[in-house]
């Protein structure tokens, strides 16, 4: 009972924190271009094995890093994991500061820890032992740099969903340990990226933005839009009449268009672009959070 009351309290905190999610501007970060990042990673011909990451193979790590920088769409959070929020964040990071991403991952690999802006990543021993060894997650199996990075993010950033499981044990990439709530996602973007974030919505109640299609279309004109949506409706896992109305998945919106009554939504998730046809009611029903990310200094 006490746990329930505490959970409700935490949920309420999250709701209000997300509602008033226009946070303070962090120290501006120097951002970079993809060309700079490509030049940086292509100049690394080989890496020595890292004593900090026993399961990470250097050649695979480098190959994975180069793939991410050359093709940010390739970021793959893994099958059946709770890494989608970290995947969306990484996709944004590769747009905002690809060189910073590449350098950060190389530093994490060689030194076992790294600093990025004001954030100090000092992964636990359990994370270091696990990275590179995750299996049956699709192409993430052979992407040790992404495994390492997603595990480090989950290890470092905590939200109320991680409260009852905040220490990594093998298999926790699929559990609440790795979960990302809406406020935590926005916090990570603010701390790591050179973006202002205007967040509407919450983990439990849909955003009150009038016409959802019009609102998102308008926001897409001035920045990048990340949606926190209920994937259980989109990709049903159970054939049940009663479904939990809670968001479970982060996607980075690429475009939104309307023809007759049908809306076509193109978004990034799981290593590529997806095109989905849906109607206005369905769009409103699945979306719980809208994060509008704009480069610092050019915000409306």
């Amino acid at each position: 009972m006490i746990q329930r009351i505490f959970l409700i309290f935490l949920l309420s905190c999250s709701f209000y924190s997300a509602l008033f999610a226009d946070g303070k501007i962090e120290q501006p970060l120097v951002t970079s271009t993809r060309e700079e990042a490509i030049q940086y990673v292509d100049n690394i011909k080989s890496l020595a094995p890292s004593v900090f990451w026993p399961k990470v193979k250097p050649d695979l790590f480098l190959q994975n890093l180069k793939l991410n920088v050359h093709d940010p769409l390739s970021i793959y959070p893994g099958r059946a994991t709770n890494f989608c929020g970290y995947g969306a964040l990484t996709y944004l990071m590769l747009q905002d500061d690809p060189l910073g991403y590449a350098k950060l991952l190389v530093q994490l690999y060689t030194d076992g820890k790294a600093q990025f802006g004001k954030v100090n990543f000092n992964p636990s021993d359990a994370i270091r032992a696990a990275a590179g060894g995750l299996r049956f997650k699709g192409v993430l199996d052979i992407h040790p740099a992404e495994q390492m990075w997603f595990l480090c993010l989950a290890d470092h950033f905590k939200g109320y969903l991680n409260f009852f499981n905040n220490r990594y044990d093998p298999g926790d990439e699929n559990t609440f340990w790795a979960s990302v709530n809406f406020a935590k996602f926005n916090r990570m973007v603010r701390k790591l990226l050179n973006y202002d974030v205007n967040a509407r919505g919450s983990d439990m109640i849909r955003p009150s933005v009038g016409n959802t299609y019009d609102y998102i279309t308008e926001k897409l004109k001035t920045g990048t839009v990340v949606l926190f949506e209920n994937n259980r409706i989109l990709h049903k896992k159970k054939l049940e009449k009663i479904k939990l109305a809670i968001p479970t998945h982060f996607i980075v919106l690429q475009s939104l268009s309307k023809k007759d009554d049908k809306i076509t939504m193109v978004y990034w998730d799981y290593g590529g672009r997806t095109s989905l046809e849906l109607d206005s009611d369905f769009l409103k029903r699945i979306i719980f959070g809208i994060s509008h990310c704009t480069k610092k200094g050019i915000n409306e």
């Binding site: 059946a80 299996r135 049956f136 699709g138 049903k236 896992k237 049940e240 590529g272 997806t274 095109s275």
Partner: protein, 200 residues
């Protein structure tokens, strides 16, 4: 009073037995429906080689089918009613065989197969693939159990199992290979099953 206790005991026993029976049913399910299940697996595999796609039923009545078409640049998700003409137009657009996919949908419908999907995995950095079939059995599910779907996996290579018939990573390694957090059990060298609360 004694009658009440006796009746209550029978009810409790029945509930207990029904909550334990899912795995026993599913172990024989494959052999009872082997022809139908293998037909679905083989036709899906053949069509998938031409153009990658996934099929799932989206409703309890098995009237709505979700079609995911995977191209090099984009995945497309569509929902259709079974036998809806619009489905055929879409299949033609993406060079998928109209008769083949429609037959597959009806074969799936016949055994309440909710999902068919190809899944890539890696062994020693080499890509392998397996086909997943999820089935919502028509027999009543155990009262206390939320495990309501039989999931069959068809591997291309013989797999390794421990002495209890559980799928493991390698011949010598005894690490149980969980897929989607589920332990899979041996049916044949290449076919495994599990019982799950989710069909994907």
């Amino acid at each position: 009073m004694n009658n009440l206790i006796r009746h209550t005991s029978w009810v409790v026993l029945a509930i207990f037995l029904s909550s334990c029976s899912a795995k026993n049913i599913s172990s024989s399910y494959y052999f009872e429906h082997q022809d139908q299940v293998e037909k679905i697996e083989e036709s899906y595999k053949a069509i998938y080689k031409r153009s990658p796609f996934t099929l799932a039923f989206a409703d309890k009545q098995f009237r709505i089918v979700t079609l995911d078409i995977l191209t090099d640049s984009m995945s497309y998700i569509y929902e259709f009613e079974v036998d809806e003409p619009r489905l055929n137009d879409t299949l033609l657009k993406y060079h998928l065989p109209v008769t083949g996919v429609n037959t597959l949908i009806h074969d799936m419908l016949a055994i309440h197969c909710t999902w068919v999907n190809n899944f890539d995995y890696y062994v020693d950095e080499k890509k392998r693939s397996t086909i997943f079939l999820s089935i919502k059995p028509t027999v009543s599910h155990p009262f206390l159990s939320d495990k309501r779907y039989y999931i069959l996996t068809f591997f291309n290579q013989p797999q390794y199992f421990d002495e209890q018939g559980r799928l493991v990573d390698k011949r010598k390694a005894k690490r149980i290979r969980k897929i989607n957090g589920e332990i899979f059990h041996r049916i044949t060298d290449k076919v495994c099953y599990t019982v799950s609360s989710q069909f994907r």
